[in-house]
């Protein structure tokens, strides 16, 4: 159990409208990620779902029930916060059990659920410790454990990996993905990191300035972005945007081509250019070219290549993988 329907959710702080009519349908067991630049309203939307903020208008239904007037504790949700938000005066075990204790769950059942969750997250050795005695990664696992023991319809994650270092982030990401497969629970996850979004989500919701730009699976967003914002936001390095008139195409404004969809040659090709800078990453080589036709473009080659600054090269875009956008920045198919 765990579906969610949002219908024209609006939220304003004073005159400032943060959410401008959000519609969303999340099915049972889906992993949905809200992604967008800072200030796009994704965290506010999550708080509205959690009941920590009231929506100015619109309806929220969890498992088909309208929850606008239901307090957060009774919505059947659990939330994991960026800053862990563990209770400093309680042990790991009490941190995980507090929500159930408040709800009046029998002691034996609390014990059982905490044991189960802590074995799932390998937290058994730390149950008697306080949060101050744990490392960052352990604290975040406790926070996740606190969410699991509540057995909610809906898991909400608010940038849970942002405070962890790079190695731990990958590891915890994996752990969350495994958890989702194992619990088959509905999860809603907020992040500004597109890698997290692409790797974890069944469905990504791209938000910008309080509006949904596009909803789709990671590959849909990568292959068929609905507009220039999504095209630019998903994929790294960023898609190249070239004014259509420079390439002699009429009727559209911009042409987009991903750096990995451009072939490079020293002898011949469509766009002649000079290498401005080369980044050798081992698995990838990223080149910045100043071309005569297309202007400054980024090219991503797989593997090692011996291009260096000031080399003259020819770039050839893969015509079939070009994206075309009209004057309103919407994709033309």
């Amino acid at each position: 159990m765990g579906s969610l329907q949002l219908t024209s959710i609006r939220k304003a702080f004073g005159d400032h409208e943060v959410l401008k009519g959000i519609d969303l349908d999340v099915k049972d067991g889906e992993f949905v990620i809200f992604v967008g630049p800072s200030g796009c309203g994704k965290s506010t939307l999550l708080r509205v779902i959690a009941g920590l903020e009231d929506a100015s208008s619109g309806s929220i239904r969890i498992d088909g029930k309208e929850v606008a007037t239901v307090p957060p504790a009774k919505r059947g949700i659990a939330m994991v916060f960026q800053s862990y938000a563990l209770y400093p005066h309680l042990t790991v075990k009490d941190n995980m059990g507090l929500g159930l204790k408040q709800a009046g769950t029998p002691k034996a059942e609390i014990e059982e659920r905490v044991t189960k969750a802590s074995s799932m997250l390998s937290l058994e050795p730390y149950l008697a410790r306080r949060p101050a005695e744990l490392s960052g990664g352990q604290r975040q696992r406790v926070a996740i454990g606190r969410a699991i023991v509540r057995e909610p319809s809906l898991f909400l994650f608010d940038e849970p990996l942002s405070n962890l270092d790079a190695a731990l982030r990958v590891q915890t990401r994996l752990e969350i993905a495994r958890l989702h497969r194992r619990l088959k629970a509905t999860m809603i996850y907020v992040t500004h990191d597109q890698v997290e979004a692409m790797t974890l989500a069944d469905k990504i919701v791209v938000l910008s300035a309080g509006k949904v730009e596009q909803i789709g699976s990671p590959m849909e967003l990568y292959n068929r972005p609905a507009n220039t914002f999504v095209a630019g936001f998903i994929g790294s390095p960023q898609m190249n945007f070239i004014p259509a008139e420079r390439l002699g195409e009429g009727g559209i404004k911009t042409i987009g081509i991903r750096p990995e969809h451009i072939a490079l040659s020293r002898e011949a090709g469509e766009w002649k250019g000079k290498v401005v800078h080369a980044e050798h990453l081992g698995a990838d080589t990223i080149l910045y070219l100043e071309t005569e036709t297309a202007g400054l473009i980024t090219v991503r080659l797989f593997g090692e290549h011996r291009y260096g600054a000031d080399d003259i090269v020819y770039a050839t875009p893969d015509k079939a993988l070009m994206h075309r956008f009209d004057a309103n920045d919407q994709a033309v198919r």
Binding site: L52, P72, K74, Q82, A85, Q102, P131, A132, L134
Partner: protein, 279 residues
């Protein structure tokens, strides 16, 4: 460290400044203490001298303990101070929590209104307060003092505490809400422990003016049963003759309880900095 040698002069000057400030601050206390153990003649002949066997005398303390009910005065002062601090901390923290946590119309104005008392001395309202107390029948009761001191301490307490409460992580409070804690539980069990250092600061700032106050006890509670220590010490100061032995002894004794309270709060100040909830 290589740089340590070059900063000897700097460190020395800083220490010199701090030591001289300490001396200046402690000198009146020292003078009071020393002279409280001397005979009357010795006080006037050589006020700076340390008591010697020939000038040592406990006559001041004897007078204080014999005349008037000094134990009772101490009790009054302690009751008034402790109750006032407790009320200031409780109400101040609650108001500060409301101001920092909830968005409501007039939040900013309310905050300014509550802070107004920092700028306007409460003594300007003495006449009105006295009339009010007379009308309420509270003259010569400790309740009158507690009420006045609570009002006097609240503005600064709210000002300091609301700044501190803004620093308590929103996530922590929200986690509490999701776990089903009431707003009171969030306030008492999550927020208050985290702002304990600020509470100790406020307690110290509130305590000292209350303990030392002469004005309100003199006006509101001059009766024998409700006299405070500072007021009690006044009876040895006459228009023509002042019993300096007794005055100095009373003041020396009055330092003790406030010192004890200060030590308690300053320990809290240091111990309060526990965390680990939030990165």
């Amino acid at each position: 460290m290589a740089t340590a040698r070059t900063s000897y002069l700097r460190t020395g000057l800083i220490h010199l400044a701090l030591i001289s400030y300490t001396l200046i601050a402690l000198f009146p206390v020292f003078l009071t203490l020393v002279n409280s153990f001397k005979t009357r003649n010795a006080i006037f002949r050589e006020p700076m001298a340390i008591p010697t066997p020939s000038t040592f005398s406990l006559v001041g303390y004897e007078t204080v303990l014999k005349q008037g009910d000094f134990i009772g005065y101490f009790q009054n002062s302690l009751i008034v101070t402790v109750v006032s601090i407790a009320l200031v901390l409780l109400f101040g923290a609650m108001a500060a929590f409301a101001l920092s946590e909830y968005r409501f119309r007039g939040n900013l104005l309310m905050g300014l209104y509550l802070a107004l008392g920092i700028m306007i001395p409460i003594r300007l309202g003495t006449v009105a307060i006295l009339q009010g107390m007379v009308a309420a029948g509270l003259v010569n009761t400790l309740t009158a003092l507690v009420l006045v001191y609570t009002a006097q301490g609240l503005p600064l307490a709210i000002f300091i505490l609301s700044e501190f409460m803004r620093t308590v992580s929103d996530d922590l409070k929200n986690a509490g809400r999701i776990d089903g804690l009431s707003e009171y539980a969030i306030f008492f069990r999550l927020v208050l422990p985290l702002v304990r250092p600020a509470m100790a600061t406020v307690a110290v700032f509130t305590m000292i003016p209350i303990w030392n106050d002469l004005w309100f006890p003199l006006i509101l509670v001059p009766g024998e049963a409700t006299k405070t220590v500072t007021l009690g010490a006044q009876m040895f100061i006459g228009q023509f003759v002042t019993n300096w032995n007794a005055v100095l002894s009373a003041l020396s004794l009055a330092i003790l309880p406030v010192l004890v309270l200060y030590v308690i709060f300053s320990r809290q100040l240091i111990r309060g900095i526990t965390s680990g909830a939030v990165k």
